[in-house]
Symmetry: C2
């Protein structure tokens, strides 16, 4: 879909870019890098193989440095692309018009942890696993878990979620406030530490999910949670995909506060069993659960879910309460993408991201599976099904135009099917450059309001141009 | 603080207004009302006595009619003020520049209830109690409860919350999508029915809390919840305010999922005992609780809280599980404002709305109580303290400039104190016209971004001018 992208302004003037690179080299020395290898490494994320070389990669260490870099780029009308660790998968970080890539990984400090208030403030380059490691002694944790060990800034920018969102919400619900460098180089704080506020427009939610098109997020105030007294994982296998999906629907409708509820279809289970040496499981549609709470609450929740699963033909629960057992299961779940990739060595893999109201989940999954089967592509399904969100991890050959067309056609039909069922083309991966058409199909006239906001806040279209909202 | 308000454009040209009123009368007949009584009734909300007469009140019945009215007002550059039932308390609905008041109470249908998906779509004029009455047979409920029987459109526009927010979140978390009429008269849908989405900018959250300054909300897609299997209310009295507050802080830090946790200080208890004939309670700082869940979960939660309360000098819990007992308690709690009003017949009452991180709650409450005592004003305290949010209901004489200055001074100090403690000047009442200065004190440079958005989406400043964001 990238072919249809138009931007308000073409690539910046070559001399302006050269002057800016010279100036950044003078100001930042070895922290302004123009080597081909580093620029290559900052030219793309994961997923579809779109890329775009930035002209320079700068590694700022403070809010003020980010503001200075953006200010210079703004004056020169040169694009600015914020970069974490490049795990986004819709082309969000490809410098498709060149420009300055701002790598935030040197801004990687946890600035404050307010244990009593269950919140913390981190720099944008802090990694998810790093944050939880630093929190360990406090008895608190940050639950949002998109699988990849992404930066918190990147997770905020793509409105990420993942396996825990069914219980703890997404980045939308868990970001209390932000520090943002605006397109004209100002440092602005949004939101705050209060749990709720009715003070003015919700700028925090506007920047969360904006994929760096409205400003560069440099700091994030996050909600934290107490480590549950008890955690129990469980695995349940089903004879049919319908049985697994109906179990999820019932659990959600009965409001069982499950912390994770993940579906792997038979194809994905096959891949995961091989890739992660998961022993003792059949190649069947499977649900992975996790329950958080007091010991009695966890027992009550898992008992209730086991009863529901049994109604729909589920096997007896295999429970894992010891951390190492649980970790093995979730590691296998998180490796689903790599397991799919390993099925066809040398092929690329792209992931779809439909999310629908739970009552339409069975229809959407089954139609999608039939659609995928008809293309001849092998398409394992994995999903955060408690939210109605599922992914196909589709191995394909990016260098083969026919294979690529087949893959993109499937991806587009999945987006449109989810939208037709009252859902969204992206539950958590974002729009990037690949879903601009789908955004218009989903939001229609509202896209014009998004465009108005983009033009008002970034009149020179320098912030990650060509992404998120068609101009 | 209303004195400092400036608007980009003065009152609309008198002839333009007259022509518009004539046109609306022609189009809407008896549904376009210019009688003084009806305009008076639409000139103010509750709280501080600011008011402003609209030139005409129109009662549309469809999205298209709202769009047509806004389109005409836009062409004539005449202000538009959306109106529900007038329970906002920061001057949000005062037509301070005249204009067209759009009364949405004839748009009062519940459009769809998707029980399986735990969501519904309602017109903006649906009342909170009406919605829950219509939901009763489904086993579902909508938890947000600001006390007043407000319209859902008004609650969305002020980002309302209330007693249940500690468990279920605020309107921010519970609005899935909106239908909005934009300042140029287009009908736009935002969000959707999926539980989460990363598709583009979060317009839903931008309109929630915008107090009608960016558009008129005409329909709201809401999250619903299953009625809990078991509900238990409890009351606990304390020798000191500190004991009550420390109990709340401990409960929050231990993440006990209490559904409501409300504080009434001794002055407020005195007022409530008299006003609501609450028998058997002492004039002491008091916590009202409610627990939702399975029977065992409710027993576990209330047992844990009772143990915490006992540590801080709380009395034995007095529990109420029967609906009529619970309702009596919560009715008394919700009548706090009227109970305060009844203490001084003939006086007005305004409510403050500080919200701070929970670790600062005791400091903030105690300093505020001392501050209020020093003014000589009687200031009962009531609060959604699980969120760090509390209100003073302050009786004063609006016609006495000295009394009003004293009341406004106290209100301003409370806002600034909350901000200095890392909190917000308004947890749930909004900015309206009274807190424009406080918004600037709280958000600084970010207010400029809000202004940029306002000017981009409403270039002629016709949507509820003079509110929410200083122009």
């Amino acid at each position: 879909m990238a072919d249809h992208v138009t931007v308000r302004r073409a690539r910046a003037d070559a001399k302006d870019v050269a002057d800016l690179v010279t100036r950044l080299a003078a100001d930042y020395g070895e922290r302004a890098v123009t080597s081909r290898a580093v620029r290559d490494g900052h030219s793309h994320g994961e997923g579809f193989a779109d890329s775009g070389l930035p002209d320079v990669v700068v590694f700022p260490e403070t809010n003020e440095e980010v503001a200075a870099i953006v200010g210079l780029a703004s004056a020169a009308r040169v694009p600015v692309i914020a970069f974490g660790v490049g795990t986004s998968i819709e082309g969000q970080v490809a410098a498709i018009n060149g420009g300055v890539c701002i790598d935030l990984t040197r801004m990687s400090r946890v600035l404050e942890v307010n244990a009593a208030d269950l919140d913390c403030r981190v720099q944008a380059g802090v990694l998810r696993e790093q944050l939880n490691a630093e929190l360990r002694d406090t008895g608190l944790f940050f639950p949002i878990d998109p699988g990849a060990n992404a930066t918190i800034g990147g997770m905020a920018s793509t409105r990420a979620s993942g396996t825990n969102a069914v219980r703890y919400g997404t980045m939308r619900e868990n970001v209390l406030g932000l520090t943002v460098v605006t397109p004209d180089g100002r440092i602005v704080r949004t939101g705050g530490r209060a749990r709720k506020s009715s003070a003015g427009y919700d700028l925090t939610r506007l920047f969360v999910g904006a994929e760096g098109t409205l400003g560069v997020i440099t700091e994030i105030q996050l909600r934290l949670y107490g480590m549950p007294e008890s955690i129990c994982a469980a695995v349940c296998q089903f004879g049919t995909l319908e049985g697994a999906v109906q179990t999820v629907i019932s659990a959600m409708q009965q409001a069982i506060p499950v912390a994770r509820i993940e579906l792997l279809d038979d194809v994905q289970m096959d891949a995961c069993i091989r890739y992660s040496q998961l022993e003792g499981y059949a190649v069947k549609p499977t649900l992975f659960f996790e329950f958080h709470g007091s010991e009695s609450a966890v027992a009550e929740q898992s008992g209730a879910l086991q009863a529901i699963a049994a109604e729909f033909g589920g096997s007896a629960f295999e429970r894992a309460t010891r951390p190492e057992e649980r970790n093995r299961l979730w590691k296998a779940r998180h490796a689903a993408y790599y397991a799919a990739k390993a099925m066809f060595p040398g092929k690329d893999v792209f992931a779809t991201d439909a999310c629908v109201p739970i009552s339409r989940l069975a229809d959407c999954l089954l139609e999608t599976k039939a659609d995928a089967d008809a293309t001849g592509l092998v398409a394992p399904i994995v999903g955060h099904v408690g939210d109605g969100n599922f992914h196909l991890c589709v191995p394909y050959d990016a260098r083969d135009p026919a294979d690529r067309a087949k893959a993109e056609g499937l991806a587009r039909r999945i987006s449109l099917r989810a939208i037709a069922m009252g859902g969204t083309c992206t539950g958590e991966h974002g729009i990037g450059i690949h879903k601009l058409d789908a955004l218009v199909a989903e939001h229609g006239e509202a896209v014009d309001l998004m465009r108005t906001i983009k033009r008002a806040l970034d009149p020179h279209n320098i912030m990650n141009p060509g992404k998120t909202v068609p101009q």
